[in-house]
Amino acid sequence: MGTADVEAVWRIESARIVAALARFTGDFGLAEDAAQEAVAEALVSWPADPPANPAGWLMTTARRRAIDTIRRRAALQDRYVRLAAEPGIEVAVDDYDLDPDRIDDDVLALMFVSCHPVLSPEARVALTLRVVGGLSSEEIARAFLVPVPTVQARITRAKKTIAAAGVPFELPPAAERRERLGGVLSVLYVIFTEGSTATSGDRLLRPDVAYEAIRLARTLAALQADEPEVHGLLALCELTAARFPARTGPDGSPILLADQDRRRWDFSAIRRGLTALTRASTRGLGPYGLQAAIAAAHASAPSVEATDWDRIVLLYEALGRVAPSPVVELNRAVAVAMATGPEQGLAIVDELVAADRLPGSHLLPAVRGELLARLGRHPEARAELELAARLCANQRERSVLLDKAAAL
């Protein structure tokens, strides 16, 4: 067995192992450390001596490391004495693994703790990918284009913060559940958007990063099936990812929605997205559900011309009321331009400019330039597109903007 085989088993088992140990020890950091020790040992011993039951091996080893740590700390710290003194300590963890319902709650608790509001947004992302997604620090660093030591430092600090703030390893109380779930959803969405529109670097799409978010959203949807917005987020991710195969050309340059070969969309992903959207609609759509409904309107249209832009305008209006943001307004402007005409769209964009609602963003001049071009106001359009290119951090998007300006 090689490194990739060890990593594959770890991907499948990590959440359950860390969750089980965290519940048992009540110490999230200790659980994560013990689990990491087990993987490190597997990387050394499996190539020469592959276990018959790799998943069981990891769990047993992680449990032993956790118990070692508890016994070692018991000598130094009171709070571990009781745990270490329990005669059935090893048996207790064994019995524990067998209860599938409990494991589900524990994996869910793991997601809530990893996305806890006491943590910085970067730490939430890193911790979620590490403990729930089972990614290594190297993989997370690659995903977010940061150095490996930065990721390691974020995770170490996050574990210390959780301990310092006394965050218990449990599901949030009912009264806080909805709000905390919103926090988890936003972490998953941040991961997804990093993959679907890389904020920097020379690639527009990083499907492997987006895939991690989709996978975590599927897990969350399985464990919190009664929460419509979880399905809304899953639908949004599936429907957006369905367009990935058509979104870039052979050289990696972005292809805009209007020019995409819709035959290359992933129709099984669209079907999964539409199914999730149905589940999201049971009590009226929330912000993620509304965005998914917009993505669904595109996914079901044979062409840009045949798209139901009136419906999309309505959905953006609704989204702007439940989750107001200048980016939503800008998207509404684009939809209005398609439904009614570029002049009406431009009026909304100009309001955003006047109120200085999106300072420093390349999106505003990019859309403004596009609409001006459609109105035949070429010199102004060119200036806006060039401004957008200067503000844009993604090299692929930047060259598209410059090409467009040059073509006017």
Partner: protein, 131 residues
């Protein structure tokens, strides 16, 4: 991301062994499906009905010939599949190791053909794969 089909290939012996323990087999299969579902990797799963009921359309001659029953010579028969959306081939194999299967059965791991890789690759990663 790569999709793989885990293809169940049973023999007469493994099918008989499965039928002898059908209750236990179904409970294990349900748990397996649930595990994959909760891991966020399961896209689809189907089991095929009795091969004795199948019909084969043979394109060996000038015109397709339709005959009842499975291929006469085949030792292992396609009995069902799981479609998984995973991070690597190794992960697909790891799930395949966990498929509840009776002794004698085989699980084949096949990648689903797709164009999910090349379009967004940079020149570097394309070169890396060629190397």
């Amino acid at each position: 991301m790569p999709k793989y089909m885990l293809i169940m290939r049973g023999t007469d012996e493994s099918n008989a062994a499965m039928m002898a323990n059908i209750e236990e087999m179904m409970a294990t299969s349900r748990q397996f499906i649930e595990d994959m579902f909760k891991a966020g990797v399961l896209l689809a799963a189907e089991g095929l009905d009795d091969p004795g009921q199948s019909v084969v359309v043979d394109f060996g001659g000038d015109a397709p010939v339709v005959t009842d029953g499975p291929y006469g010579e085949t030792k292992e028969l396609f009995g069902g599949y799981f479609m998984v959306d995973v991070a690597s081939k190794q992960e697909a194999v790891e799930w395949a190791r966990r498929v509840p299967a009776a002794p004698g059965a085989k699980v084949e791991v096949r990648r689903v053909a797709g164009d999910d890789e090349t379009p967004q690759d940079t020149q570097d990663s394309v070169a890396e794969r060629r190397a």
